[in-house]
């Protein structure tokens, strides 16, 4: 048994196995790379070589299309990343603290608002940075904020974000008994394309760019949800928040805002 050569054309098994395998491979390749692409009616290839390369999966340029339609409003041009703002230095936080002096009127001396402006203490650094950028670019507008960010540099915005992110979240300002999460917060409304809030704004599941909501003012949250729903606020990337807010009823907006406002920070 062991004297028979294994890898040799004299071994019938070897020859047949290799030839059959090669034949199947070659035939299917000819069909897949040449015949089928050349018969496509939906996709026009510029020639046989283009067809073969496309079938092989080489990256092709997009087919020429009509000009891109630009929005008649400003959208955000921030690129979100969970890592670009890592490692805020003490210097950065210190500079941010100085710059933040002018924000205390609305956002409180320690980043906790006494009015219905958003609390910033302990907010995610990327969130503050992105909102400042959007105010500056005009993607988000607000009579109070827009003029105040006009002269901020990129570094100023990073430092401010670092400072507020560094501040400890304080005990809740809005006192109330926290009830169970309403349906819209806990389960969302799948058929209206509303995912549960915590799948982006949560602690286990978090989507970069989503804000920390616990303890935020209910008035502020409701105003923002309504602004997203109407499109008046449109600095969310690719409509991700507008898509959700549009489907919410006003009762659900109120319930969700109340729920988050009543959570400890």
């Amino acid at each position: 048994m062991s004297t028979e050569p294994r890898f040799s054309h004299r071994n019938r098994w070897f020859t047949i196995a290799v030839v059959v395998t090669a034949l199947i491979a070659a035939t299917s390749a000819a069909m897949g790379f040449v015949v089928l692409p050349s018969l496509q009616t939906n996709t026009r290839f510029t020639g046989i070589w283009d067809a073969i390369c496309s079938a092989a999966g080489l990256v092709r340029a997009a087919p020429a299309g009509q000009p891109v339609v630009q929005a008649n409003y400003k959208t955000t041009d921030v690129i979100l990343s969970s890592s670009t703002l890592d490692g805020s230095s003490a210097i950065s936080i210190g500079r941010g603290a100085t710059l933040a002096m002018r924000c205390t009127m609305c956002h409180g001396t320690r980043g906790v608002s006494e009015a219905d402006s958003p609390n910033l203490a302990g907010q995610y650094i990327m969130v503050i940075f992105k909102q400042l950028q959007d105010y500056k670019s005009g993607a988000r507008t607000n009579a109070v904020m827009t003029p105040r960010v006009a002269d901020l540099t990129d570094r100023d915005m990073r430092d401010l974000a670092a400072y507020y992110a560094y501040l400890p979240r304080l005990p809740p300002y809005h006192p109330a008994t926290a009830g169970p999460a309403p349906q819209i917060v806990e389960s969302g409304a799948p058929m209206r394309n509303i995912a549960p809030c915590a799948t982006c704004h949560g602690t286990l599941y978090y989507k970069t760019g989503s804000a920390w909501l616990e303890g935020e003012s209910s008035v502020y949250l409701q105003a923002q949800l309504k602004a997203f729903a109407s499109g008046a606020r449109h600095n969310d990337i690719s409509e991700q928040m507008r898509n959700i807010a549009r489907g919410m009823s006003s009762a659900e907006i109120e319930a969700a805002a109340q729920y988050y406002a009543n959570q400890p920070q």
């Binding site: 089928l36 891109v68 008649n72 041009d77 799948t199 989507k207 409509e239």
Partner: protein
């Protein structure tokens, strides 16, 4: 011994016959696939195209104002859409019936699925790559368009819709909009 040899020959002959039948079945199946491919010109994802998911919203064909359905000069329509945690934009896609529809879609973050119920539109959205599907909807209807690939804890909330409307109604829409959706404002 000869009886043994005979029965061995019979067995070998039966096996050869069955082997032939098996190969015949396989070849018939392959032939069917090839025939449909030739006859209907169906090629899944005719070309590979790449795109940077980080900058979809800043420039290029996937900025929000360019998403939705565009009427092409040749009478067909092109739908552009993106998937993101946890929605499609546009949430509701509108297309004319009995018209060639080219869907170009991609993902802004993780892997999503793109499925239109009761149709053969079914593709993966993989961040970094553009998916293309060419299809045709025979008659007006309204269908669900769920994400069919796990994309995170909110996956079960990722349902879009598609409305197929008649050609005249679509032409009316197209008269005063360059990109159409059926998202309720």
């Amino acid at each position: 011994m000869t009886e043994h040899a005979d029965s061995a020959t019979v067995a070998a002959r039966m096996e050869r016959r069955w082997g032939t039948v098996s190969i015949g079945i396989i070849l018939a199946l392959v032939f069917m696939a090839a025939y449909i491919g030739v006859h209907q010109g169906v090629m899944p994802q005719p070309r590979v195209e790449t795109v940077d998911p980080r900058t979809l919203h800043i420039a290029g064909e996937f900025i929000e104002s360019n998403l939705g359905t565009a009427a092409e000069p040749d009478g067909s329509v092109t739908v552009r859409a993106i998937g993101q945690q946890y929605s499609f934009t546009p949430q509701c896609i509108v297309v004319p019936a009995d018209t060639q529809v080219t869907i170009r879609a991609t993902s802004a973050d993780v892997i999503h699925g793109f499925l239109i119920e009761h149709s053969n539109v079914n593709t993966m959205l993989v961040p970094g790559y553009i998916s293309t599907i060419v299809t045709r909807f025979p008659a007006p209807s309204e269908r669900l368009m769920p994400c069919h690939e796990f994309c995170g804890a909110g996956h079960e909330g990722m349902w879009g819709r598609i409305k197929v409307i008649n050609k005249a109604a679509f032409a009316k829409l197209a008269a005063d909009q360059r990109r159409m959706t059926c998202v309720a404002q």
